[in-house]
């Protein structure tokens, strides 16, 4: 496929994973058609393009599907390597470090957001908060090391780890509201707290990061849906 072929992205405005390729496209200045899925339904196109997982986001480039948010981001970086900044570093060791931290984000955080978008008891939510705080602490250290005093994990411009973690800021802020706990605490994690502000107000994130209030509202719809789907308890 060439850079000029047809581009479609299947996703929703609320999904942090969908936000990732959208941010990458923004960084590269690339236009694409955004096909939004209806809440609670999976379109035929989605099922045909990602039969294995049936998940969003799916990028369709020249008719061929690419799946998995971080894999799509790497793909975008490769195809449009001459546009915009490089999302992944060029040095193999730095790339391995970036991939590691992006995988760490995905390993630790999305699971802990779950208790807030499903039926969950207070104990589960409290534990989730603990896990998030611990993960953000590690990421704070990672930020210090990777940024070397610059604005983003990748340095002067947004890169792979910035996108991986940055895409979750919206939902983490929603969790702050739902749990009544401050996660991006300037005292505990000063580097990340400032980085989060910077990320959200960057050009790359413009128009993509959902408002916290909208996500809080949306989380209610998700909880209702999961309650309805759950088998009745005795």
């Amino acid at each position: 496929m060439a850079a000029g072929d047809e581009l479609k992205l299947i996703g929703t405005w609320a999904s942090p994973f969908v936000a990732r390729p959208r941010i990458a496209f923004n960084l590269k200045g690339i236009q694409y058609e955004f096909l939004q899925e209806e809440f609670g339904k999976k379109s035929d196109l989605l099922l045909k393009s990602n039969p294995v997982q049936k998940k969003i986001p799916v990028l369709i480039h020249g008719g061929k599907p690419v799946c998995e948010s971080l894999i799509i981001v790497e793909y975008i970086d490769q195809i449009w390597s001459s546009s915009g900044p490089s999302i992944l570093p060029t040095d193999p060791y730095d790339r391995a470090v970036a991939r590691f931290w992006a995988a760490y984000v995905d390993d630790k955080l999305p699971l802990q957001i779950r208790p807030f978008i499903r039926e969950a008891d207070e104990a589960a939510k409290a534990q989730a908060i603990e896990q998030i705080v611990a993960a953000l602490q590690h990421l704070e250290e990672a930020f210090e090391k990777c940024s070397k005093g610059k604005s983003f994990f990748a340095g002067d411009s947004i890169g792979f780890v910035d996108i991986a973690l940055g895409s979750l800021i919206g939902w983490l802020r929603a969790v702050e509201v739902l749990a009544g706990v401050k996660l991006f605490d300037e005292e505990r994690i000063p580097g990340l707290a400032k980085w989060a502000e910077r990320f959200c107000s960057s050009d790359a994130a413009l128009g993509i990061m959902p408002e916290t209030a909208e996500l809080v509202e949306f989380s209610k719809a998700l909880r209702d849906a999961s309650r309805a789907a759950a088998p009745p308890s005795n």
Binding site: H61, V66, C67, E68, Y75, Q78, I79, R95, A96, F100
Partner: protein, 235 residues
């Protein structure tokens, strides 16, 4: 003795001898002709630590690289063109994304599936086995679409290394520990043929030196003990 890599720096692989993730990294190094510094390797103790904590670490020139799939990409990038070995990842961006996607999919799905098969009580085991079969269906289909015997085409590639643990660990070990068969040669004939390389069978010299495996009986013994320790089911 230690041989230094192209870049002139010492390479060490650390990890648990029974771990599939460690082996996939070892195979990648051997494919690229990279020799490890074995002097610093820890003895093969029967340490019954949770495997999740014993991830492989590749130490290159004193710097650690963690996460086996990330390590594979690192090895491919650093030793590109080494030993005349073709690249592990496809050059074509779409094929590359597909290989990564399938590796991530298998890694993710098999984690939960093997947990169910291995540790969960009998009734959940069926779910785990079904999940494993679903993985095999995907892999069977993918292999059939290739020109050549491997996921990498005519040579071993990233996806071969990523799922290469299955023939031994899900085949030999699972059968030995649970007397339970997943690798169905009739249902998954292409996968079955492919799996012979990862069991050193046929014993072609070339593959023997690359695809190293833990000793069969020792591995079965280890996983029996491991399962007893960490099983959800009553002993």
């Amino acid at each position: 003795m230690s041989k230094e890599a192209d870049s002139g720096e010492v390479v060490q692989l650390r990890g648990m001898w029974a771990s599939p993730a460690v082996h996939r990294v070892a195979w990648a190094l051997r494919l690229k002709g990279v020799e490890e510094d074995l002097e610093r390797k820890s003895p093969a103790l029967l340490e019954l630590n949770p495997i999740t904590k014993q991830v492989p670490v590749l130490v290159h020139g004193g710097r650690p690289v963690v996460e086996s799939l990330v390590i594979l990409e690192y090895i491919d990038e650093v030793w590109s063109g080494a030993a005349g070995a073709p690249p592990l990842l496809p050059e074509n961006p779409y094929e590359r994304a597909r290989a990564r996607f399938l590796a991530a999919f298998v890694e993710d799905k098999s984690r939960e599936a093997t947990r169910k098969v291995f540790f969960a009580p009998e009734k959940e085991r069926g779910e785990g086995l079904r999940s494993l079969e679903e993985i095999l269906e995907v892999l069977e289909k993918e292999l059939k679409s290739k020109e050549g015997e491997f996921f990498g085409g005519r040579s071993i590639g990233y996806l071969d290394l990523a799922v290469g643990w299955m023939p031994f660990w899900l085949g030999v070990v699972l059968e030995g520990v649970l007397d339970c068969k997943v690798m169905n040669a009739i249902k998954f004939p292409t996968f079955y043929l492919w799996s012979k390389f990862f069991l050193q069978n046929p014993p072609e010299e070339k593959w023997e030196s690359i695809i190293t495996l833990p000793p069969r009986e020792k591995a079965i013994e280890y996983f029996i003990k491991y399962r007893q320790l960490y099983s959800d089911s009553p002993k």
